[in-house]
């Protein structure tokens, strides 16, 4: 079992530079001892993950609308590969459309986060998501708890 208490390896793929900055700023302000890696798009993320030498991340934040390779495509590819079965995936998108929520749920994402419009809220979201006991969360996963709300 992966222990999250000490240090978590976190990846985020988002094509929006500002959103990446907000995210890393929030992490820094939270002063959590985490290892964060940023990717500019899905392609870069998948290239990184395809390297067999890397240590796998605990948690992956995935934006949906990205050029070259969308978050949805990344999700499918990752879930099709047994190697990544321990990786928790949090969808991190501006959209809150029923369609996106439903489809990512079906494809095996662990949680769906709508990007908060307030930096304080963003910090809160990140903190709460870090505190989730993923194994417990995943086993009791249903559509009601899938969409994350603070």
């Amino acid at each position: 079992m992966i222990s999250h208490k000490d240090s978590m390896r976190i990846l985020i793929a988002d094509d929006d530079e500002d959103d990446r900055t907000f995210f890393s700023d929030a992490m820094t302000e939270l002063k959590m001892d985490n290892e964060l890696t940023l990717f500019n798009d899905g392609m870069a993320l998948m290239d990184y993950l395809s390297n067999p030498d890397i240590v796998l991340p605990h948690l992956l934040f995935l934006d949906l609308n990205m050029p070259l390779k969308s978050g949805f495509e990344c999700l499918k590819e990752i879930r099709a590969n047994q190697r990544f079965k321990e990786v928790s995936i949090a969808i991190y998108s501006t959209s809150s459309s029923e369609k996106d929520i439903e489809e990512t749920f079906i494809e095996g994402a662990n949680i769906y986060i709508k990007k908060p419009n307030d930096f304080t809220k963003l910090k809160k979201v990140i903190k709460e998501v870090m505190d989730i006991n993923w194994q417990f969360h995943s086993s009791g996963l249903n559509k009601e708890t899938f969409f994350f709300s603070i």
């Binding site: 959103d19 907000f22 501006t94 459309s97 029923e98 419009n117 307030d118 304080t120 809220k121 709300s149």
Partner: protein, 596 residues
């Protein structure tokens, strides 16, 4: 009536006619045999009479002979003996005729044989007497004795002959009386025959008349039917055709030709002649389908194009199936109908459909723009606002702080509006899945989601006794979110908001769209608040898109919330009503059909 029915039944009539003909045949054959026996009676009688006559002739010749002999004895004149041999010859020819006449009567043959013996003996006596008489000195005693003997023998012969003649006479008598009976029978038979034949003739004639009448009537009716069929063809715009598979002959109705815009029967019907009207691209397909069906007897339904002499194109549907005609020959029969208008309309409809689809797609992409592309920059504006507020707020002047908070309010308002627009467009879209939903659970979930707003307004919400209904879950959730938010938004200042949500019995007098609304077919759910309310006259206005009653800065409505509510309820074939009183509160009633 029953008799008439039987009379009209040709089967019964045929049997009756058969019986009558057999009966007439029987009577005719009886009559024939009677006539035959009558004929034989007549010939028998004639035979007997002739036999009598001949016998009498024989007797008379013998008498003449005897007389001549006596005269010779007395006169000794030879002239009396002149015809002696001739007479004998005459008797012989008489006897020959008698032989012929009695040939069929064995008893009579015997009689004749005896007669011949008698005659021979008599002639012996004649000769002896003549010899005696011719001698120079005739012994008169012997001569007398011979004459005496001759005389007696003649008498005896006469008796014998008369006996025979009498026997023949008796036979004639019997025949005569029989003949009388037979004649009577024959007359009756003949009469019956004539009467029966007449009867049959009359019946047949009458039947024929009736049949002809009926045939004529049926014929007239058929003609009329044919005419109305032709008219119907004209009106309905279809043409009728048939193909006799045995004779390979084609028949086209008048309107078949009119559909081609040519004079009826202006060319002889055949596959080749009609093929010339078919669009070149369709020709092979049509004739292949048709000829194939003639082998399999499977019904056909072919759509193709005709090119009319005017160059105009016509879309035609040709439907055919197989039947056997009265001669047991297989016939393919069918109709062609003009589908040009229908086809064009379908094309138009398809075009419209495509347009609608593309409009829908545009709407969808618009929806995407609103929900995502517009939200993204807005999201960023809001994020930066929160960043500046957290980090740079102290650097702003007081005026700057005021302006800045106005920017934030506007950005928030814009976000609400965007969310409402997305929600509204979601109520229009097609994917509506109805599922059994426990409204109690659903409303409690909504209250949970709205908890921060509820806390802020210090509102008290009571939920009691809501049904489980088959609805589009996410829409009904949106409905309660909007209604509760609405009540929270328009609550009175300084008074704790009270919202109660409950289901209620429907009162008898509720009528909508001429349909009685009752507990049998509808659920009624009420959301009641103690807010600022409004004048009842605005009740309909509040459900209209972008219509707002309160525009004060403290009320942050978008004018979409209740319009969304109305749409959602209508999506469920229900309706929403509101009763309100200023400063007392509003009461929203949702009616949802029990059968979705």
């Amino acid at each position: 009536m029953k008799f008439v029915g039987l009379y009209k039944n040709s089967q019964v009539f045929k049997i009756a006619l058969g019986i009558a003909i057999v009966f007439v045949g029987y009577i005719a054959s009886v009559f024939y045999t009677q006539m035959r026996s009558l004929d034989s009676s007549v010939s028998l009688i004639a035979n007997a009479t002739e036999t009598q006559l001949e016998l009498e002739k024989v007797l008379s010749i013998i008498s003449i002979y005897e007389t001549n002999l006596r005269s010779f004895i007395i006169t000794k004149d030879d002239s009396y003996l002149k015809n002696r041999f001739l007479r004998k010859g005459e008797i012989e020819s008489n006897l020959k005729r008698i032989d012929k006449l009695v040939a069929n009567n064995p008893a009579r043959i015997k009689d004749v044989k005896r007669l011949k013996e008698l005659i021979d003996y008599r002639f012996e006596l004649f000769r002896e007497t003549l010899l005696l008489a011719k001698s120079k000195s005739p012994n008169s005693l012997i001569l007398n004795a011979k004459l005496q003997e001759s005389n007696e023998f003649t008498e005896a012969m006469k008796n014998f002959v008369y006996k025979t003649i009498n026997a023949e006479g008796d036979k004639v008598k019997i025949h005569n009386s029989n003949h009388q009976f037979e004649l009577q029978d024959s007359i009756i038979s003949a009469f019956l025959l004539v009467i029966l034949s007449l009867l049959i003739l009359l019946l047949s004639f009458n039947k024929m008349n009736v049949d002809i009448d009926e045939l004529k009537k049926a014929n007239d009716e058929l003609k009329f039917l044919n005419r109305s069929f032709n008219e119907a063809e004209k009106i309905a715009g279809f043409g009728h055709w048939k193909v006799n598979l045995v004779t390979n002959t084609y028949t086209f109705s008048d309107n078949f030709y009119r559909l081609l815009e040519v004079e009826p029967q202006s060319f002889s019907p055949s596959l080749e002649s009609i093929s010339q009207f078919i669009h070149p691209d369709d020709k092979e397909y049509v004739s292949d389908m048709h000829l194939q069906s003639l082998k399999t007897y499977k019904p056909t339904s072919i759509m193709f194009r005709f090119i009319l002499p005017s160059g105009e194109m016509k879309y035609v549907m040709s439907v055919g199936s197989f039947v056997e005609n009265s001669d047991g020959e297989m016939v393919k029969t069918g109709v062609n109908y003009d589908m040009t208008d229908q086809f064009k309309r379908t094309l138009e409809l398809e075009e419209n459909n495509r347009e609608l689809k593309s409009i829908n797609e545009e709407l969808e992409s618009f929806n995407n723009i609103v929900s995502h592309d517009l939200q993204e920059p807005l999201h960023k504006i809001q994020m930066f606002i929160s960043r500046i507020e957290a980090k740079e707020n102290d650097a702003l002047s007081d005026q700057g702080k005021v302006y800045f908070s106005k920017i934030r309010t506007s950005a928030n308002k814009m976000q609400t509006l965007l969310i409402d627009l997305v929600n509204y467009s979601r109520t229009i879209k097609g994917d509506k899945v109805f599922e059994e939903t426990n409204l109690n659970e659903l409303v409690l979930q909504v209250i949970d989601d709205l908890s921060s707003d509820i806390e802020e307004k210090k509102a008290k919400i009571t939920v009691s006794d809501l049904p489980t209904v088959k609805v589009i879950s996410f829409q009904i959730e949106q409905l309660f979110i909007n209604l509760i938010s609405n009540s929270l938004k328009y609550c009175k200042e300084n008074v704790a908001a009270q919202i109660s949500i409950f289901s209620e019995e429907i009162e008898e007098h509720e009528i909508r769209d001429n349909e009685k609304v009752s507990n049998d077919n509808f659920y009624k759910i009420v959301i009641k608040d103690n807010g600022i309310g409004f004048k009842q006259e605005y009740a309909d206005k509040i459900f209209i898109l972008f219509q707002r009653l309160e525009t004060g800065a403290q009320y942050s409505g978008t004018g979409l919330g209740l319009a969304i509510c109305k749409r959602i309820v209508e999506n469920h074939n229900g309706f929403i009503q509101v009763t309100s009183e200023p400063n007392v509160g509003s009461e929203f009633s949702i009616f949802i059909p029990k059968k979705a």
